[in-house]
């Protein structure tokens, strides 16, 4: 519907006389050979690459019956992994939302030297291998890491015993790393398009920073913010490479993807079915994420 109106608008801009006829033409053309072929190719590609895998997961997870499925997803290792996954995802989303809001505010409301560099640096985690993220934390906080004495010293002072690798905090850090730019990347274009005139006016009238954000900026960006948080969440619960590097204790610091790996690698037919059973949980989560995303995208577009 909206595409059609867009299309009409575009045509009106260029040539006002033709639209109705041209549109009819377009609709007729759709029934031709080429569109059918292209739609056919798309549907086949879509089915083989995207739908088949989902069916495969569900089929394999239920192969040994529902009781086996239930046992697999309520095993103590799975539950512990679920807990770690939830903790890591929640903290990652919270930290990256805070960061995303600050970074987007900084990058869109002010002019300063080095802005472009800062914006590029924020995008680093997007383009590097997650394995490198894990490696980076091991080299900073690991046995040979230069920050290890510092962490030990702090632990001595506070009487704590926190370690940033091979522990839950390490898993959380690795998760934050890979999802770092997700929120800011969604917010920056929206806030840029909005401009800062409204905020300036509010500031001139004496509004405080937090009030400006809450009353002026937030209503414009809420859908983009939610969208970024959803993306961040999706990546966080599914992260494998980075977390794999810094998590070694099954049943303690494993996340769901790591638990799946352990079950699958055990190699017996039973454990492979269990791996798929646990996978089906994540498939469900992925589908929920996709639906939420569609909804948020749709609402956001409608409000614009």
């Amino acid at each position: 519907m909206s595409k059609e109106t867009n299309h009409i608008k575009a045509q009106e801009r260029v040539a006002k006389e033709i639209p109705p006829k041209a549109e009819k033409n377009q609709e007729k053309k759709q029934k031709g050979f080429v569109p059918c072929l292209l739609i056919g190719i798309s549907v086949i590609f879509f089915l083989i690459m995207l739908v088949f895998p989902l069916v495969e997961v569900i089929y394999r997870s239920l192969k040994d019956g529902f009781a086996a499925y239930k046992n697999a997803i309520t095993a103590s290792n799975t539950l512990s992994a679920l807990q770690v996954t939830l903790i890591a995802t929640l903290i990652a989303v919270a930290v990256n939302t805070l960061f995303g809001l600050c970074a987007a505010w900084l990058l869109t409301k002010f002019e300063f030297r080095g802005k472009q560099v800062l914006s590029t640096l924020i995008d680093i985690p997007f383009s590097i291998s997650p394995v490198i993220a894990g490696l980076a934390y091991i080299m900073t906080f690991g046995r040979m890491g230069w920050a290890t004495p510092l962490v030990e010293w702090l632990n001595d002072i506070f009487g704590t015993n926190i370690s940033f690798v091979f522990s839950v905090p390490g898993v959380v850090l690795a998760t934050i790393f890979v999802t770092f730019p997700f929120v800011s990347r969604e917010l920056v274009p929206v806030m840029q398009a909005q401009g800062s005139a409204e905020e300036e006016a509010a500031a001139m009238m004496g509004a405080k920073g937090l009030t400006i954000f809450k009353r002026v900026t937030f209503p414009h960006i809420r859908w983009a913010l939610l969208y970024g948080m959803i993306l961040c969440c999706a990546r966080a619960f599914g992260e494998f490479g980075a977390v794999y590097a810094v998590s070694k204790a099954r049943g303690k610091t494993f996340t769901l993807p790591l638990e799946i790996d352990a079950l699958y690698m055990a190699g017996s037919a039973d454990s492979i079915t269990q791996a798929f059973a646990v996978s089906s949980l994540l498939v469900l989560l992925a589908i929920i994420i996709l639906v939420l995303k569609q909804v948020v995208e749709y609402r956001g577009k409608r409000e614009q």
């Binding site: 045509q11 002010f110 383009s127 291998s129 080299m139 070694k248």
Partner: protein
């Protein structure tokens, strides 16, 4: 830095606060850890470094990662273009479902995708059986590795193309056809040039993701040194695992991988800046 400009220019509050939080978090979480990798690899001498990254298995892993990611990105450009075109231009039942599901590879954990694809394309899997009749071994070979990377990369290309296609008015094609151009000529000379920047961006993103990919490929590739199906991330991970810990080797390979990522990022930025300039003209 902030003194330079007139203070009055910054009416909106929060510069110091947001700058502080942004820079602190960025440094603590991203830059300092990455700097440790750099520091670690710079501790080696040049010859040591070269020796580590020119070992046969490392060179082969780089060839495999880059080669397969390249092929997968090309495949994705072809199918991504078709999918984006179909999703933007045509109406058919199930279109919205297809549009929503394109991003499944983003949302589905890579480990799940990895084990599923590996089973599907093995000799006993539904698609693997079909392919093995045709004499193609998919799982545990470079073919399977490339299939996994196609799966991972497809949303990058489709999502890069869609907005551009939506903005491309039909009038261009109509004008071209009215002037007597054939359909393929119109596509090659009128539509494709408009799409090239987006296509290149999608290609670059898919390639970057593919080269560093770990979770989705390690199950399907088989990780055999003899058959050259080890990827770079696998080699790094192997060096981190207890038993054969080799931090220096890992850091050296990671450095090369980082360099490749930066080059690709640079390439994408240049493509986008040039494209932005062209549309402004």
């Amino acid at each position: 830095m902030s003194r330079k400009r007139k203070k009055g220019k910054r009416v909106i509050p929060g510069f110091g606060l947001t700058m502080g939080i942004t820079v602190t978090l960025l440094s603590l979480l991203i830059l300092i850890p990455l700097a440790s990798v750099l520091a670690y690899s710079f501790r080696m001498s040049g010859t040591e470094f070269l020796e580590l990254i020119t070992r046969p298995n490392v060179v082969q892993a780089f060839m495999t990662s880059i080669g397969c990611a390249f092929v997968a990105a090309v495949v994705n450009c072809v199918f991504g273009l078709i999918l984006a075109w179909v999703l933007v231009r045509y109406e058919f039942p199930g279109k919205r479902l297809m549009d929503g599901m394109i991003e499944l590879p983003f949302a589905l954990p890579t480990a799940v995708a990895g084990i599923t694809l590996s089973r599907m394309y093995s000799d006993q899997g539904i698609l693997g059986r079909l392919l093995s009749h045709m004499g193609i071994q998919a799982s545990y070979s470079k073919v399977g590795l490339t299939i996994a990377l196609v799966f991972i990369g497809i949303p990058f290309v489709v999502r890069a193309l869609q907005p551009v296609l939506e903005k491309l008015p039909h009038t261009y094609e109509e004008a071209s056809e009215m002037l007597g151009a054939s359909r393929s000529y119109t596509f090659r000379r009128v539509i494709l040039p408009e799409l090239t920047p987006a296509l290149l961006t999608g290609f670059g993103l898919a390639l970057a993701r593919g080269i560093g990919e770990y979770g989705s490929v390690i199950y399907i590739s088989g990780n055999s040194e003899k058959e050259g199906t080890q990827v770079v991330s696998y080699i790094i991970m192997q060096k981190l695992n207890s038993g054969s810990v080799d931090y220096e080797g890992a850091a050296a390979i990671a450095l090369v991988l980082l360099l490749i990522s930066f080059l690709l990022l640079l390439f994408i930025n240049i493509v986008q800046i040039t494209a932005g300039r062209r549309t402004k003209q």
